[in-house]
């Protein structure tokens, strides 16, 4: 029983982790919390669905959905964020406006999806079994698709962890997000690099949507709740840390699963917010957020 509950927690935790990773990727490259992320991700998932329906092949649809997600992320930056940031440059508005804009964009994307595909629940099926692995006579609540989700989130962690830490692009992304002006003076093409950050995040969101959706159904709002959990996970992890996002996702997933099993399903979200509050009270920068250094 305990193991089963843990496994359910890990599989939903991996889902939250993926969502959290896509948020952290935008944050790390632009310092914007992108509330449109779930809209972008679900849009890309619809594209994956359409391709899967036509090509009868999930494995073709998956990479194409990811590419579409990257392009969409890049377009969101070019068409929304850049014109916006060109107009509002300083003051408190400059911090809030982009976030509000992403909320507006979320509404826009979801109504667009409703117009194109309707609000029915669609099935985006994966060839991987949704039935749990069996050991002897016992079937555990952890399917090949769940395993695939866990692997996808590990892959994102490893790939982007490597890019951020060991490549010039990663250094440019971090420099551009911390101190755009100094980065520019050092020769970093800040707007181009940011655009790549949006594309990375869009690709990750699309991957999340396309691997999660086969375990549920597809509708314009189908990723919203997962996104909220992903957001909580990202904040718990420090918003700036890829490892933090994964750990935050797992903590939340496992926490929810135990509450569901031993207490009551109705309180899971409440508990999620309580965990968030407690973490923010004890460590405002999140579990993996770094403390500010000394300021001269």
């Amino acid at each position: 029983m305990f193991i089963d509950t843990l496994l359910i927690g890990i599989s939903s935790g991996a889902i939250y982790s993926l969502m959290a990773l896509s948020l952290v990727l935008v944050w790390r490259s632009t310092r914007i919390v992108n509330f449109a992320q779930s809209g972008q991700a679900v849009f890309s998932t619809y594209i994956g669905y359409e391709i899967a329906v036509r090509a009868h092949d999930y494995w073709i649809s998956l990479p194409l959905a990811i590419i579409f997600g990257a392009l969409l992320g890049s377009l969101v930056d070019l068409l929304f964020m850049r014109p916006l940031l060109r107009r509002v440059k300083d003051g408190p508005i400059a911090e809030i406006a982009p976030v509000i804009a992403t909320l507006g964009l979320l509404g826009l994307l979801q109504s667009l999806l409703g117009l194109i595909w309707g609000n029915a629940f669609l099935q985006y099926a994966s060839p991987l079994s949704a039935k749990g692995f069996t050991f002897g006579s016992h079937t555990v609540p952890f399917s090949p698709q769940n395993l695939f989700i866990v692997l996808a989130s590990c892959a994102v962690l490893v790939i982007f962890g490597f890019i951020f830490k060991y490549t010039n692009l990663g250094l440019a992304l971090r420099a551009a997000s911390f101190q755009p002006e100094i980065a520019q003076l050092a020769g970093v093409r800040v707007s181009r690099v940011r655009n790549i950050g949006w594309a990375f995040a869009g690709a990750t969101g699309a991957l999340a949507g396309a691997v999660i959706t086969p375990t549920a159904t597809l509708s314009p709002n189908s990723l919203d709740l997962l996104f909220v959990s992903g957001f909580i996970a990202a904040v718990i992890g420090g918003l700036d840390s890829l490892v933090g996002a994964v750990v935050g996702g797992l903590v939340l997933g496992i926490g929810f699963s135990f509450i569901l099993q031993y207490i009551a399903g109705s309180v899971t979200f409440l508990v999620g917010f309580i965990i968030l509050m407690v973490v923010l009270l004890i460590r405002p920068r999140g579990i993996f957020g770094r403390d500010a250094g000394r300021h001269a």
Binding site: N168, L171, A172, R174, A175, F178, Q179, E181, I182, A183, Q184, L185, A186, G187, V188, R189, V190, R290, A292, G293, R294, H295, A296
Partner: protein, 238 residues
């Protein structure tokens, strides 16, 4: 072809406020010119306009015949125009090594980036033992060294330095000025040096420009400027 830095009728506004009005001057290749003036005189603004961070509303500037007008900082760095801005121009969240790497991030000649990095570390040995530390753990003087060290890795031809002595202890200031003097001789750098520390700056400068309320008041050799009793009390603080 005209050589060196040539600035003609530069005017820069912040909204309705004019920060610099109609400034013209030039800096010959290899020359070190000190730019002196009180707080708010427009010194930083002038440097920011030269490195492309703000656009002048009027006037033009060129470096060895290459027009700076309408260029972005990231393009100007590629032309060898490197600006170390006011207040320790480092990225506190990155490590010392990463801050240094930033200076060579756009350069193709990776062997020369490594060589430049070695040179920077030999000029500022204090940095060598702190490569993995975050830049915000450095002292003010070390941060300034890191900022200059990073600029050198971009292989500057024209170095725009904004108050490198700001907030540093007298001994450290002396050290920084010595390094600037040595570097420009060794590398043949052209330097425009903004300073409040007028006397120290003039000691290593070939020429000084005095800026007052956004306009160029006068210019001359350090000896000429130091000899003027009015300038001495009003701008040089001696």
């Amino acid at each position: 072809m005209s050589s060196g830095l040539i600035v003609e009728n530069f005017t820069v506004n912040y909204g309705a406020v004019s920060a610099i009005q109609d400034i013209s001057f030039d800096v010959a290749p290899g020359e070190l010119v000190a730019l002196i003036g009180a707080n708010g005189a427009g010194k930083s603004t002038l440097l920011r306009a030269l490195s492309g961070l703000v656009a002048p509303v009027q006037g033009s500037a060129s470096w060895n015949g290459y027009s700076l007008n309408g260029k972005k900082p990231e393009d100007l760095v590629r032309q060898g125009i490197v600006h170390v801005c006011e207040g320790k121009s480092v990225i506190p969240e990155l490590s010392v090594a990463e801050n240094l790497a930033l200076g060579g991030i756009w350069r193709r000649d990776k062997a020369d980036v490594l060589a430049a990095r070695e040179e920077s570390l030999s000029i500022f040995p204090a940095l060598a033992s702190r490569l993995q530390q975050r830049a915000d753990s450095l002292s003010g003087g070390e941060r300034q060294m890191l900022a200059i060290g990073r600029a050198l890795i971009s292989r500057p031809k024209l170095l725009l330095l904004d108050e490198p002595s700001l907030g540093l202890a007298p001994l450290v200031i002396e050290e920084i000025f010595k390094v600037i003097d040595r570097l420009r001789r060794k590398l043949g750098l052209t330097v425009l040096l903004v300073e409040q520390n007028a006397v120290s700056a003039l000691r290593i400068a070939d020429r000084g420009l005095i800026l007052n309320l956004g306009a160029l008041l006068t210019s001359g050799t350090p000896d000429e400027l130091m000899a003027d009793p009015q300038l001495r009390t009003a701008y040089l603080g001696i």
